[in-house]
């Protein structure tokens, strides 16, 4: 069984969001890392880029395939997790501890559209 954390919000495209004030920390879920298998590269945006909810902001590459990352929120990228540049496999080790980007939230109402832990767990079961 994949892990789902209670304190996070989720997109049905398997990204998680931790909201702290007006900053959203975004990563991919345990379910996603498990489905992808060995992750070998994370294509990340740069600090200062604008991302849009529902649109692609990068990609995660496993040995076999590339999978688009879909931003759960809109706003300016404040920071990306540079540790993933040399060690993308950290996401396989702990998908919730190894975030991908932090975004300054431009539209807080978008958070309300995201799934809570119970609803996301159901998505994973389907």
């Amino acid at each position: 069984m994949s892990k789902v954390l209670e304190n996070l919000r989720y997109a049905d495209s398997h990204e998680w969001v931790l909201v702290e004030g007006d900053v959203a920390t975004v990563g991919i879920t345990d379910y996603a890392q498990h489905a992808l298998g060995n992750i070998v590269y994370v294509d990340m945006p740069e600090a200062g880029d604008e991302v849009t909810a529902g649109e692609e902001f990068g990609a995660v590459e496993s040995v076999k395939a590339a999978s688009d990352l879909i931003s759960p929120v809109s706003g300016e990228v404040l920071e990306v997790n540079e540790a993933l540049e040399d060690a993308p496999e950290l996401i396989n080790e702990d998908a919730f501890a190894n975030w991908i980007m932090k975004v300054k939230i431009s539209d807080a109402s978008e958070i309300e559209n995201l799934l809570d832990a119970a609803a996301y767990a159901k998505v994973c079961e389907e």
Partner: protein, 365 residues
């Protein structure tokens, strides 16, 4: 379409062992059991086993068997001792590849062909069509045979112990037939990984018993995921990627297997001889990229913003950690050292043309 997928004789084992299953060549095949990287590493450093029962087997026998095999196969089997195996292709008249295959010489009147799963129906129809006028019998034995590939530096030791057979007497690209439990089992020193190892062809029952013994002995089950990364690293082609009906062996940089001067004529010879004389206009080469982004099948390769080819297979190499690819590139950009760019999603990544062998083979010859 998934309900139409064929299951190999080991399918229930894969499911019970928790393999990630996926369609390949019309079969429901294991892609990985635990991790592609772990399985890849087991084959490079120890031993692993693959279910390759999806591969097709065709037996050609009769007084004209030598003449007929020579007619449809670009490599030269003339004068070979019984028990030798040849790699090569069957080609269309225009030189495009029908399939790449192994030809096992049983004797001058009997050959055993091992073909790709995805091409079984096409190959058998083509082989039958071209047999007119030859005194041969063509038998598609794909439904009878199960096949496992035991691969890696410890493959010989492991398989000899399990089967209690003198497999050390089988030379590279040779085979022997053994009577095991009342049936004829074919064992060859071949594989598709760049490592030493064996491929074992037997009935479904035999194949299941062998698989279970390999599991009891602790041999790592390996899926098609690492089969692809392993073959790719040592520059071996996969039909559908580096070879197609529209790609000739010369364009695939496999001319060493095309014997234009062999004593018999063969289908495609004229076109291939002409292409060799005029020179190919495009060719498969290797590309090494800066950084870790992964070039994948179909991604464009550019020089000065102009598309000059595309990736046929690419990976972040598990053995070397480098992002590398095989690519079909137009001349003159095929020259070693040519700087190129590969378009990966919205960005381009710089790379350079290199030899298409990214890891040295470790065969026991």
């Amino acid at each position: 379409m998934e309900e139409n997928l064929i299951k190999t004789c080991l399918h229930d084992r894969h499911v019970a062992q928790g393999a990630l299953m996926s369609p390949f060549g019309g079969f429901d095949m294991p892609i990985q059991y635990t991790s592609i990287i772990d399985e890849h590493t087991a084959v490079r450093t120890d031993v692993g086993v693959f279910d390759v029962s999806h591969m097709g087997e065709v037996r050609i026998s009769g007084p004209d068997a030598y003449k007929y095999v020579s007619h449809i196969f670009v490599n030269d089997v003339t004068g070979a001792p019984d028990g030798q195996i040849f790699y090569g292709m069957m080609c269309h008249e225009n030189g495009g590849v029908v399939d790449d295959l192994l030809v096992y010489k049983v004797n001058d009147e009997e050959y055993f062909l091992v073909i790709n799963a995805s091409n079984i129906a096409k190959d058998v129809a083509w082989i039958e069509k071209n047999a007119a006028g030859f005194n041969v019998t063509i038998k598609n034995e794909s439904d009878y045979y199960g096949e496992v590939a035991v691969q890696g530096p410890k493959a010989e030791e492991m398989l000899m112990r399990i089967l209690n057979l003198p497999l050390n007497e089988i030379a590279f690209y040779n085979f022997k037939t053994f009577d095991i439990d009342g049936e004829q089992v074919i064992i060859s020193r071949t594989g598709y990984t760049g490592e030493d190892g064996f491929e074992v062809y037997g009935s479904h029952d035999f194949t299941r018993r062998l698989w279970d013994k390999l599991m009891e002995a602790g041999v790592k089950p390996c899926g098609l995921g690492c089969r692809d990364t392993l073959r790719f690293e040592v520059g071996l082609p996969l039909y559908g990627d580096e070879l197609t009906d529209d790609i000739t062996p010369l364009e695939a940089s496999l001319s060493m297997f095309v014997k234009l001067d062999k004593p018999t004529d063969f289908i495609g010879r004229e076109a291939l001889a002409k292409q060799k004389e005029e020179g190919v206009t495009r060719r498969i080469v290797g590309i090494e990229l800066e950084g870790k982004a992964v070039p994948r099948h179909g991604y464009p390769v550019e020089v000065d913003g102009k598309v000059v080819g595309e990736i046929t297979t690419g990976y972040n190499s598990i053995s070397t950690g480098k992002s590398v690819a095989m690519a079909m590139i137009e001349k003159p950009y095929t020259k070693l050292g040519t700087p190129v760019e590969v378009r990966i999603r919205k960005k381009t990544f710089p790379g350079v043309v290199v030899k298409k062998r990214f890891y040295d083979k470790n065969y026991k010859k």
